[in-house]
Symmetry: none
């Protein structure tokens, strides 16, 4: 039985590599004309590494994943920071003690800092729903402030909802970080591949047991390969000709612009939680510390996904959508007896890059390819 | 009946476009030799986009207006800030908590911040008349300070009045902003057209149902077009040969200067509320973030409007002036049975750009051109 991997993103490349190193022959099928999936990046004429599908920052606490990927790249020691334009000022996101210092007058900021550290402890990430329950008027003022200025409009833009449609429980996830740590991630290992994600994934796929066919849609080969062992990282609804309707996703469109100046903004990512229709602006030269008199940015717009018209990015978490995904997987297993699913699209789960690779390790253990 | 639009500014262009898209033929008459009215801008030899009639910053909370204009331009994500030279220091205008920090010693600033936030709440814009009524000596000191240093001389320059002629109620509008938000506007959508306002308005007017005749005064065509449907955006007194006397306006004169340096001042607009005769200086390269070793600024002088000698800018709000405007409109409707009025001059109202376009939408709904 042949091993067929559908999709040459980070999940597909990892599964292909592990199979190949276990002595299996693997054929990787990729519909796009390039490898690396949504991790795809390229160096433009100014030497700036642009992430075609939006900013990707690698971060993990999983040593196995880090060690595995580090065989295929060295890393630029980048620590990600996100600023948000809140009442006209660029403040650290998630909202933390430094954000409080920037936004509020000093006496008020000091009082909030004292109350937060006393009540929740320095270093806690406190969901604003918990903050609101504190019943202290200052802390609940802060919770309301963050809800209104950081969360509300951003979320309506990100998910295409009206404010009144947003379930209050969703706010539970928005934290205030009782810390002066401005980093977006606190993971042990963080970095950007020195030669880009595409080069890292290319190295993963360079193995004598692996062949890669880009520009090849699954439907072109599905009859030939139906009985093989299939590792499917694509959309499960497309696999079954969308027979039960579309699995919903959010999509993103990017307005890429090159400016004739050294920097556009003071951080790689600036969120716009109150203004405009784009959710954020990414500036790519920060990721590898590239020196250039020009700079490339992308304005990022969240939009509805329409099959065949744009790219699916984010699965939309809901019980109904999970049930539809399950139904599709069950039907697919009838049609393809040796199929398994992985990746952000295949599993219909919003994996970070490290989680996608960790999922591959787990799957390879389930399948006996790696030792348990 | 033909549709005649008098004036090719943002109001005239919007009305022409909406009519054209409804299938109507439209003829736009413009006395000046260029379109775009007071929004007119041009790129100079250094690539700096200069606003010929003074700084224009687009800002709105009206999604319909934003979406409409966004069909004709992309936007540079600019957030407007104004600084004022107050006691020799550049401080944020409107006066806010950061201005207080800059102007007063630390202990006093802290006390004022605490009193403002406690009494009015963080985030409030408190008119200084309300501030004075607080009867707290520190808050009324602050109210007096802002009145004397930020409001008084600026207003005499702006409106050509002596200090004693200024109605105290006018001060009610001058706020202190209990916030650290330095932006001049808090609207959701803000930006500058990437290729300038003129290009945006040119795109609006480019439609097969629209013809535009610049350099054509209304009086040249009025006999021919008297019975047509007229959308009039010009001065209503001129339309009636100023038969009841002049409608008063304030005018502005600009002293444009190019300097051989990167920047002239640290923000796009610096107000001079205490010094000199000009009201403010605009520096144009900020609006599109233009990189150049030169910079263009304009010193802005407010002056009386004289018919035929300078341009009318600001209608002067008063009951007598509104009555005169009404009288002119009534007479005009006798002479031109199918006329309606819009725009800053036509309505004799100080519209921002977005309000001018919103007015067009309302008018098109009243006329059944757009659905209610």
């Amino acid at each position: 039985m042949k091993n067929i991997v559908v999709g040459a993103g980070i999940s597909g490349a990892a599964v292909a590599r592990i199979l190949a190193e276990a002595g299996e022959k693997v054929e990787v099928i990729e519909a796009k004309d390039h490898i690396a999936g949504n991790c795809f990046d390229y160096f433009d004429e100014n030497g700036i590494c642009v992430h075609k599908y939006g900013t990707h920052i690698f971060h993990t606490d999983n040593r196995e994943v880090w060690d595995f990927l580090s065989r295929f790249t060295t890393w630029y020691p980048y620590m990600h920071k996100v600023l948000g334009l809140v009442e006209g000022q660029l403040v650290p996101i998630p909202f933390n003690l430094n954000s409080i210092r920037k936004v509020f007058p000093e006496g008020m900021a000091r009082k909030l800092e004292d109350k937060l550290t006393e009540r929740f402890g320095f270093g806690r990430k406190v969901p604003i729903l918990e903050l609101r329950q504190a019943e202290d008027p200052d802390l609940s003022f802060l919770a309301d402030y963050i809800y209104n200025h950081v969360f509300l409009i951003y979320t309506t833009k990100q998910w295409g909802m009206k404010p009144e449609e947003i379930d209050p429980s969703v706010t539970a996830r928005v934290p205030v970080y009782v810390s002066r740590d401005d980093r977006y991630f606190q993971n042990r290992w963080q970095g950007i591949p020195d030669n880009g994600y595409t080069a890292m994934i290319k190295n993963m796929l360079e193995h004598e047991n692996i062949t890669v066919r880009t520009g090849t849609a699954w439907k072109q080969v599905k009859d030939e390969y139906a009985k093989e062992r299939i590792f499917y990282t694509g959309h499960v609804d497309e696999l079954m000709d969308r027979c039960f309707g579309d699995l919903p996703y959010r999509s993103i469109s990017f307005d890429f612009r090159t400016y004739d100046r050294e920097y556009f903004q003071p951080a790689a990512v600036v969120n716009y939680p109150e203004n405009n229709d784009f959710t954020r602006i990414g500036e790519y030269k920060y990721f590898l510390g590239t020196q250039s008199s020009k700079t490339v940015v992308s304005l990022e717009y969240s939009s509805a996904y329409e099959y065949g018209k744009n790219e699916p990015y984010y699965p939309i978490a809901s019980a109904a959508n999970s049930a539809l995904h399950e139904k599709y997987m069950a039907a697919a297993r009838e049609a393809y007896p040796n199929i398994c699913f992985l990746g952000r699209l295949g599993d219909y789960r919003y994996y970070d890059m490290d989680k996608a690779v960790a999922r591959v390790f787990a799957l390879m253990r389930e399948n006996g390819i790696l030792k348990a």
